[in-house]
Amino acid sequence: MSLTKERKGSLDVARVRADFPILARTVGDAPLVYLDSAATSQKPRQVIDAESEFYANHNANAHRGLYMLAEEATEMYEEARAKLARFIGTDDPATIVFTRGTTESTNLVAYAWARRFLKEGDEILLSDMEHHSNIVPWQLAARDTGAVLRYLPLTDDGLLDLSDLGSLLTTRTKLLAVTGMSNSLGTLPPLGQLTDAAHAVGALVLVDGAQLVPHVPVNVTELDCDFLTVSGHKMLGPTASGGLYGKHEILEEMDAFLGGGHMIDEVFHDHSTWNVVPYKFEAGTMNIAQEVGLGAAIDYLEALGMDAVRAHEEEITAYAIDRLLDAGATVFGPKDVSVRGGAVSFWYKQIHPHDLATILNEEGIAIRAGHHCNQLVMRRYGVPATARASFYVYNTNGEVDALVAALAKAEGVFGL
């Protein structure tokens, strides 16, 4: 499928699709229509090859051996760090800690920052649209420190309700931890406004970048957030790749996280001293091949251009929302694509999302059904679960048409 209108900076989706081997497979007799990139993205040949090439020709432990292979492995690992730093808008690779993804990154901050600095009565401000991975680590940290959790509520339209921001964000607030893009509602919170407001009361800001970084151009220097979590596998990279951005001076002040090899400077019987940032946080043998693969994913996204990625997703998301609403679906979250991304949650005519997902699978269509680790959102809108279609660089309006056609089939199965 090729786009008939070529705009400047737009994606050549047919060429993109040719890079993803999995998109050539079928499900039963039907071609795969993959609409679950918010759960994990598919991988282009370039990423698969980069990881494979690392194992085939360069595999050794990083930052340890004194031989050529070890130097190559170290260089490739550190090159990936520099790529990720540049990709999110910082020229200091030491501000990037490699982790297995956003969950580990958030837990790292909850242990090494929150448990070190929070005390009874301090507050952490979250929102009702956070993924469980940006709630539970703070609940555990609050339990250990006596800190209190507060939540920004949601409007009926799926936006953050900031009308009480002044009473929720106060000098007691030490951290605002907020998603960059909701994984169920698609909402893009006003990060600039929130960061400025948090800094004005002396709070730090952690942005959960799991859905944001793969889909929207991000610049941590302009945004001025204190932490940004990054998931590699949602941005064309391997599973267990990703990282944490933290301002250099804050990472310096933080405690260590996991103890082990390479994170130390010196070890004595009764204590140890820590390696420099970011190695202080990278204990044991790291996910070297995966981060090298993430580097290739970043190369791929940069070659497409993140502005073009975002423009493509705005277009397909607008088309999907229009088609779903026309078909009679209930769409959750904002409808205006300038304030949302491409994770579209919906209900279709009383058909439970699980039933919908099973029927759509017969047509080769992969969507997510469930609570999406967003139980606060489900409760807010009074549903046990939603169906969710989510889009990325390889999806087409034709696939949205296939989704809508399959909804009609589901209706037939249920005799509605």
């Binding site: 439970h352 039933d355 017969e362 059904a369 469930g370 489900m378 046990p384 199965v413």
Partner: protein
């Protein structure tokens, strides 16, 4: 795979017109459980009389498989002894594990759920109500009646 294997008429009938889907005041036993994967939740109420299950009902929300399974279960166990019911739970689980060829005389309409075995991720939807029933019954052996929802 064909959708007819899973969305059989009898399943859709129980989904659209669930039997015994109501609160049961006076039930000695009840148990609630949710499926953390999907958010489905179900509560099963049991009223016993003379060692037999005199009445059983359920409330909750979920997909067609979990709801129809619960509905058919209430019909299948009403009037059975607790011991027979335990055996039926075992038979049903065996069918859903693909281990046992179902005995149609024993399982009746429930045999319709056999097609779900081909959809491994949905098996837990079919079994949810049965797990809850078993927990409710186990409460009757030892602890105080009316196991607390959890």
């Amino acid at each position: 795979m064909a959708l007819d294997d899973i969305y059989k008429e009898v399943i859709l009938d129980h989904y659209k017109n669930p039997r015994n889907k109501r609160d049961l005041p006076g039930a000695e036993r009840s148990c609630s459980r949710n499926n953390p994967l999907c958010g489905d939740e179900i509560t099963v109420f049991v009223h016993e009389e003379g060692g037999k299950i005199a009445e059983v009902s359920f409330v909750g929300q979920g997909c067609s498989i979990s709801q129809s399974s619960a509905s058919m279960m209430t019909e299948a166990v009403t009037g059975r002894s607790v011991e027979e019911t335990r055996r039926l739970i075992g038979d049903f689980r065996g069918m859903m594990a693909g281990e046992v060829d179902p005995d149609e005389d024993e399982l009746g309409d429930l045999v319709a759920l056999k097609g779900v075995v081909k959809y491994p991720i949905r098996i837990k939807c079919a079994v949810l109500a049965w797990d809850v029933l078993q927990e409710a019954l186990e409460g009757s052996d030892g602890e105080a009646a009316g196991a607390a929802p959890h």
